[in-house]
């Protein structure tokens, strides 16, 4: 069985790709960092574990990375779904990315086309991403969820006033650093709505109103698109479980519209698809 390092080296040597985006050793044991390997002899630095965060697909759209040439990217289940969603949203074209997929057992498989990615993604169990734990330290060394509810079931089970108190307390720590936005591969707008400032549409202050508005806007803009990789919450320096907002919306989109973003190459936006046979009449 050839290893990730062997595959990456072969791709670079053959000139199939010019850069391999993966994880390498970080500042301390257990911590990893994104690396951009451009020389075959440097492939030894790659860590063969794709469960780390942030979601590396974020880098595919960065101009500095694009300037390097055709990339290979090391992904797990979350990455496969991200790539399909990016393709559906016309952000990557067929063949533009060479995928090195690591399955749950660490076996590596090459997916050079979108069709190959779609075929492999179809084999993922329904909860492949949500249940995948990140090993040890993931992104930020200090990021950690606060005590209290840890899943949407627990938060949903709270009475309304306690749920509101939970979110007020969580969001009170938000410093508007936008690490969540930066670490999200599907937050790729070149000008985010919060940066539209003539006039300022979304309040930028890190106060009760501003943080609520930002976090709701961020979550809503990902409704029906989010693949639930968890990169946002992991990036949050103050440990806010903002992924819970996305997971709730994802489950709503699933139950009401059957939306499964990142499961196929079919373009089916829960929030912007029009069908003549829509059962609701407000749209006609």
């Amino acid at each position: 069985m050839s290893t990730l390092v062997d595959r990456a080296r072969a791709l670079l040597e053959a000139g199939t790709v010019q850069v391999v985006i993966g994880f390498g050793a970080g500042s301390e044991p257990g911590r990893v960092r994104p690396v951009f390997v451009r020389k075959a002899e440097a492939c030894d630095s790659l860590v063969a574990d794709a469960r780390h965060r942030p979601n590396l697909c974020t880098y595919l759209l960065k101009p500095e990375i694009r300037a390097m040439g055709r990339p290979a990217i090391v992904v797990g289940a979350a990455g496969l779904r991200t790539l399909l969603q990016l393709a559906v949203e016309n952000q990557i074209t067929d063949g533009a990315v060479h995928v090195l997929y690591l399955d749950a057992d660490g076996a590596v498989c090459e997916l050079p086309t979108l069709a190959a990615i779609e075929e492999r993604a179809a084999m993922l169990p329904p909860d492949a991403v949500v249940s995948a734990p990140a090993p040890g330290a993931t992104g930020a060394a200090t990021s950690a969820a606060s005590a209290g509810p840890v899943g949407i079931e627990q938060v949903d089970a709270l009475p309304l006033d306690e749920r509101w108190a939970f979110w007020q307390n969580e969001l009170s720590r938000c410093i508007r650093c936008y690490a969540c936005r930066a670490a999200c591969p599907l937050c790729y707008c070149s000008r985010c709505i919060v940066d539209v400032n003539q006039p300022q549409w979304i309040p930028v202050a890190a106060d009760a109103f501003g943080t609520l508005e930002w976090n709701v806007v961020r979550a809503m803009h990902l409704a029906g698109r989010c693949v639930e990789c968890g990169s946002c919450a992991d990036a949050c320096p103050v440990g806010i479980r903002i992924d819970l907002l996305n997971r709730v919306l994802a489950s709503e989109a699933r139950s009401h519209f059957g939306a499964e973003p990142g499961r196929s190459l079919r373009r089916e936006y829960a929030l912007s698809t029009f069908r003549p046979d829509d059962t609701a009449d407000f749209i006609r």
Partner: protein, 337 residues
């Protein structure tokens, strides 16, 4: 002098009764951060460092500056005074205390800042020397140290779990001792010799060599691009940093008036240098990263006579992609211009 845990309880009690605010590291789950407390029981003594710095005590993330009302062509504005209650910042680390010099240099540079200045005057800093450090600490590379007294009004050095040697260094420190009679005891038989060993923080780079090389590195594009490839351009580093002071002024306006706010900003954001004309002098992340490094290690020392970094390591602990300031700066110190 000596401060015992009983004395500490007295200190907290007296100050709270006198209407003082006490801000100290507290634990919430796995995260330790500064928060308002009223009793030493709430203080997390064992953490190497908090996630966020204590700068919000002096320079809050959102500062309401003035309120205004409009009626036709009439505008009436009303200044908003800062909340500058007497405050004890307790359990800060020597690097945190050291950062005050940078904040002071920025906010009193040409004219004293009417928001930060009164809070500086009302804040007394009680620091606890570090008996442990982690992989991200590099205070000794930037002129500080785990028992560095600079910036502290009182520096506490642990003698035992419930006793500290108290080095009362300033008038504010003495005023705090006087405000809580009985809290501090004379040293007597206990001396500094009994103090617990201070943390070992090996130097990562030579500051002199770095500062000599930096000006020549400005145009080394490839170097800055390589260092910042993984940087996502968020503001986490700037917002947890004790010395980052950039802000943006925003008007939140309703139909008949509004409020003017001063909000934290970060040079890592693409919009930070966007001009009204549409021109942006820093379009690439590498240019923003260069600005961050040079501002801290070249421009501020040159303009204000203070470094923009105290080596607390918060930026590197919080970075979602493990940008490591000490490592990057070490690379620069060793780079050939």
């Amino acid at each position: 002098m000596i401060l015992s845990s009983a004395g500490l309880a007295t200190l907290f009690e007296r100050l709270t009764a006198a209407g003082h605010r006490i801000v100290a590291p507290t634990r919430d789950g796995d995260r330790v951060d500064f928060a308002e407390v009223t009793s030493p029981q709430a203080v997390a003594f064992d953490a190497v460092q908090t996630v966020r710095s204590a700068k919000a005590v002096l320079f809050p993330p959102v500062e309401p500056m003035l309120r205004y009302r409009t009626a036709g062509h009439d505008v009436q504005d009303e200044a908003i005074a800062p909340d500058a209650r007497p405050t004890m910042l307790f359990g800060a680390r020597p690097c945190d205390a050291r950062s005050i010099a940078t904040l002071k240099a920025v906010f009193t540079w040409d004219s004293p800042d009417p928001y930060v200045e009164p809070r500086l005057a009302a804040t007394t800093i009680v620091t606890i020397a570090c008996t442990k450090a982690d992989a991200y600490c590099f205070c000794t590379s930037v002129g500080g140290g785990p028992a560095d007294p600079q910036g502290s009004d009182i520096l506490l050095t642990p003698i035992a779990d419930d006793r500290w040697a108290a080095d009362v260094r300033t008038d504010k420190g003495r005023a705090l001792v006087a405000a809580a009679p009985g809290a501090f005891e004379p040293a007597g038989g206990h001396g500094a010799a009994a103090a617990r060993p201070i943390a070992d923080v090996p130097a990562r780079f030579g500051l002199a060599a770095l500062q000599q090389r930096l000006p020549g590195l400005f145009e080394q594009d490839a170097l800055w691009i390589e260092q910042s490839l993984r940087c996502l351009g968020c503001g986490a580093c700037a917002f947890v940093c004790p010395t980052c002071t950039c802000f943006d002024i925003q008007d939140e306006r309703g139909r008949d008036g509004g409020v003017r706010l001063r909000c934290w900003d970060s040079c890592g954001f693409g919009q930070f240098t966007l001009h009204a004309s549409g021109h942006n002098p820093r379009t690439r992340q590498s240019e923003r990263w260069r600005q961050r490094v040079l501002h801290k290690f070249a421009y501020q020392p040159e303009r204000l006579g203070v470094l923009g970094c105290v080596g607390c390591g918060r930026c590197s602990r919080s970075c979602p992609v493990d940008m490591n300031l000490a490592e990057h700066v070490q690379m620069l110190a060793e780079a050939t211009a």
